[in-house]
């Protein structure tokens, strides 16, 4: 018995030692730093950084191939190289380099962005820095709990005006207005719709707390070939819901198997339809909800009809049945992202989605059409007996082979720049059969009731934690977010579009190289820029009601509307009444809030009286007086 216990203790002891000595220490950090040094040395721009001179010697190749060689080394060689580099710049230097913690989502592109930041910082400031991401993909809970206790990340991510206001109110976000003015990362450089997500207007004085990582919004994707087969003109500009319906009715008929129908359109949101039609959740200063309007009712009716009368859009039950594995995390609801899978299978003719869906679509095109076509063509060239087998230009087979390798087999491979000649070569070999298998995407504006495009667009921003001991470096990170290197990377990796306007306007399209793969050229469409620049609107926020509660109250009504448990008119009225009731309750419970409300409206708040009537009566009096 005693020996068993002793043996167990020894085992646990050994395990603990192993855990602390081998598993826990972070060894990849130093490697990442060496990669940054190697990249800088490859570009040859800056040479006075300590350690950069010795790097070619340590890795054993000339500048230009340092990074590539380092990446292809095996584990032991790489560790040895890191060790030699570390001792060449002085013992302990590499370990003592400050590390920023960036709480962000788990997009695989973040790794590349971190590398870019290390390189940019070396080149711009001449000193090394490290950065790691701390994905908290689920929600903001983790960040909030950590921040309130004083252990938060250095860089915090937030989305939309409401979250910014909460984090600013909590005092977590550092005011970076002065630094932004001095180092040129101010509000004047970004899309106007992103401004409320990064700055707060305090009676005319704009204080900046963050800088956009990218802009989030969705547009309408459609199958170009389905439009062509049906003999419909492709929608190129703004269009109305009625026009869209005409197309959707035709498209939902499936000529291949009559009697079975296709989905006409997916993911069109009732809230956005109503807001685009002119409805609004709140009045201008957020003192009351004015949602119950003819525009909202009209939009709701059109929305319901699309599901139940026209049957061009799936009902919630149908959508839930179709939504399988395609994707989306719990915040979005599986329906939203599986739409892209259904779209790719041509179950739906049109759907509302974002530019980030490039990768999913591109991987389908790669596997279904492009790689098989290239393989076939290479075999033809090798055979060389029949007419047309000869190379169309010298070295075609090699170019195609290189193209197959460039496309790789992983999602992240699709985000690497691909030489133009490879894309041209691919495009040239596609037969009609290949084109049939290709997803040929068109992009256009989301239809609205009025015909004028309208988009809800907010920015995903990064802000500096005010308690961070590395706040100075944090500001540099925001400066980096405004740099060409970062913004071009966002555009090139189809991570929606970048926040800085100037990098989106380019004669090469939004992304420049790499070009999208054949069939997906529309992902560089001007529509994306127009949507964000001309027609985008930030979220409407009321200071008198929390967004989460607003979501609960309005979301329930939306569920009922979608299941036809309430009529459009009832729904619009219920949304307004529920929001106003909540605002009234909030005002009753909080003296400070009530004082603010009264100073804006100009009358005393009367509990139990319809809020909209109170506000409108007050306005009428002010209007009458003036």
């Amino acid at each position: 018995m005693r020996w068993i216990i002793l043996g167990m203790l020894a085992f646990w002891g050994a395990l603990t030692a192993f855990a602390y000595l081998v598993v826990a220490p972070d060894t990849s950090a130093r490697e990442d730093l060496v990669r940054a040094y190697a990249d800088v040395a490859d570009r040859g721009g800056v040479t006075n950084i300590p350690g950069i001179e010795q790097l070619p010697q340590i890795i054993g190749v000339e500048p230009g191939e340092l990074l590539a060689t380092f990446d292809t080394m095996n584990g032991t060689d790489r560790a040895a190289a890191v060790e030699r580099f570390s001792s060449s710049i002085g013992p302990g230097v590499l370990e003592s380099i400050p590390t920023l913690v960036w709480s962000t989502d788990d997009n695989p592109a973040r790794d590349a962005q971190c590398h870019l930041f290390r390189v940019w910082h070396l080149e711009t400031y001449g000193e090394p820095i490290d950065i790691v991401t701390d994905p908290s993909n689920r929600d903001i809970t983790k960040t909030v709990v950590q921040c309130v206790a004083g252990a938060g990340p250095d860089l915090i991510e937030s989305y939309g005006p409401e979250q910014l206001q909460q984090l600013v109110a909590a005092g977590v976000a550092k005011d970076v207005t002065e630094a932004a003015n001095a180092r040129n990362f101010g509000v004047d450089r970004v899309f106007p719709t992103a401004v409320p997500s990064m700055a707060i207007d305090r009676s005319g004085q704009v204080r900046q707390y963050a800088f956009p990582c990218n802009i989030g919004y969705t547009v309408l994707f459609y199958h170009r070939d389905l439009f062509q087969e049906a003999g419909l003109p492709e929608p190129t500009g703004p269009w109305s819901v009625a026009e869209m319906l005409e197309a959707a009715r035709v498209l939902s008929q499936n000529p291949d198997s009559p009697g079975r129908r296709r989905v006409g359109i997916m993911n069109l949101g009732a809230w956005d339809m109503a807001l685009a039609a002119g409805a609004s959740f709140f009045n201008e200063d957020g003192t009351a909800s004015l949602y119950n309007s003819p525009e909202a009712i009209e939009a709701f009716r059109a929305f319901q009809d699309m599901m139940y009368v026209e049957r061009v859009m799936p009902t919630p039950a149908e959508a839930a049945s179709m939504a399988a594995s395609g994707g989306a995390n719990m915040n979005m609801g599986a329906e939203a992202a599986s739409a892209s899978a259904l779209f790719a299978s041509k179950v739906t003719a049109m759907y509302v989605g974002g530019r980030w869906e490039y990768v999913a679509t591109a991987s389908r095109n790669r596997e279904r059409a492009l790689v098989p076509a290239a393989r076939r063509r290479i075999a033809e060239i090798a055979r060389g007996t029949e007419e047309g087998d000869a190379e169309r230009f010298p070295g075609e087979a090699e170019v195609l082979q290189a193209a197959i390798e460039s496309m790789g087999n992983d999602n992240s491979d699709l985000l690497r720049p691909m030489p133009r000649n490879q894309i041209e070569a691919l495009r040239a070999i596609l037969t009609d059969a290949d084109r049939d298998r290709l997803i040929d995407i068109g992009v256009t504006h989301i239809p609205t009731m009025t015909g004028t495009p309208w988009y809800a667009a907010n920015a995903r921003v990064a802000m500096v934690n005010r308690a961070s001991p590395r706040a100075e470096y944090g500001e540099r990170f925001l400066e980096f977010l405004a740099s060409a290197a970062y913004n071009e990377q966002i555009n090139e990796t189809f991570d929606s579009i970048c926040g800085v306007v100037e990098y989106c306007i380019d004669e090469d399209g939004i992304s420049g190289p790499p070009d999208p793969l054949p069939g997906l050229e529309a992902f560089d469409s001007q529509i994306f820029v127009d949507a964000a620049l001309l027609y985008a609107n930030p979220d409407q926020v009321s200071p008198f009601i929390g967004r989460a509660r607003q979501g609960v109250l309005a979301g329930e009504v939306m569920e009922w509307l979608q299941s036809r448990l309430v009529s459009p008119a009832e729904a619009a009225k219920m949304v307004e009444d529920r929001l106003n009731k909540q605002i009234s309750a909030n005002l009753e419970g909080d003296d400070q809030l009530r004082a603010t409300w009264e100073s804006i409206v100009g009358v005393e708040f009367r509990p139990g009286v319809n809020l909209r009537e109170q506000v409108e009566a007050a306005q009428a009096r002010v209007g009458g007086a003036s």
Binding site: V23, D105, S325, N329, N331
Partner: protein, 290 residues
Amino acid sequence: MSKQQLAASEQLDVVGRKPFPLVRALVFVGLVLLGITFVLPFVWQVLISVSSLTDVDLLTQLGYPPDLKPENYGEVFEKVEFARYFFNSIFIAGWATLLQVITCAMAAYAFARLSWPGRDKVFFLYLGTLMVPGVVLMVPNFVIVLRLGMFNDYLGLIIPAAFSAYGTFLLRQFMLTVPSSLDEAAAIDGASHWRIFTQIMLPMARPGLIVLAIFAFLFNYNSFFWPLILIKDDNLRTLPIGLMAFDSTYGRDTPLIMAGSLMAMIPPIIVFLVLQKYLVKGIQLGAVKG
């Protein structure tokens, strides 16, 4: 207990005698039918885990994946540091289980077998804390762990899990069922409390200890929210958090999640299989009665 007796007791069931063949057959059929309802979702999970992402939709219509992709299992290891997460989860859950069983058994002994002033009051205090929902305790708990310097460290996951009011309650209930004549006799023989505890109480309450060990291991192995908040480094992440990398804002890779979670089930199954052998021994021990 002699060998014959043991063999005889094996023939008996809880209702004290060998049941009629018909009853036995019915029970067996019932177990198999119930077994199907329990196994079917897992068979389904296995099928999903070897499908390609695009085929998951078709599974109910086809009943079987068109292209088998067993390489999903390898991909889990390639795409995230799965082996590391595996180690961390087992390491943390193992330590927490060991410590929790020890501290709870000692405390349970004090509550079940020792008589001291204020015993019942303290016990009710323990019981009372079980009633407080955990969500709001997250913030104060985090502050405490941070102040103790256990943030982003194995300790922060092990130490708070080493004490449990639940485990104390559970073991107290088990120790209450141990006949008090046993330890009274030992006490009269002059045995110390420590001796009674280790030589009589622990063996007698072994089924309870094992049940608690299983619970504690599973709870800590599957725990999600606390490690999510407490751990910053990728190297220290546990399995449930590591697996969530496949459920990101950029798509849910259901086959990989299912493949990963099936592999994650292996250590608990081993723990369960190993410990339940002792559970059976506990069954026999319970029958020995001193």
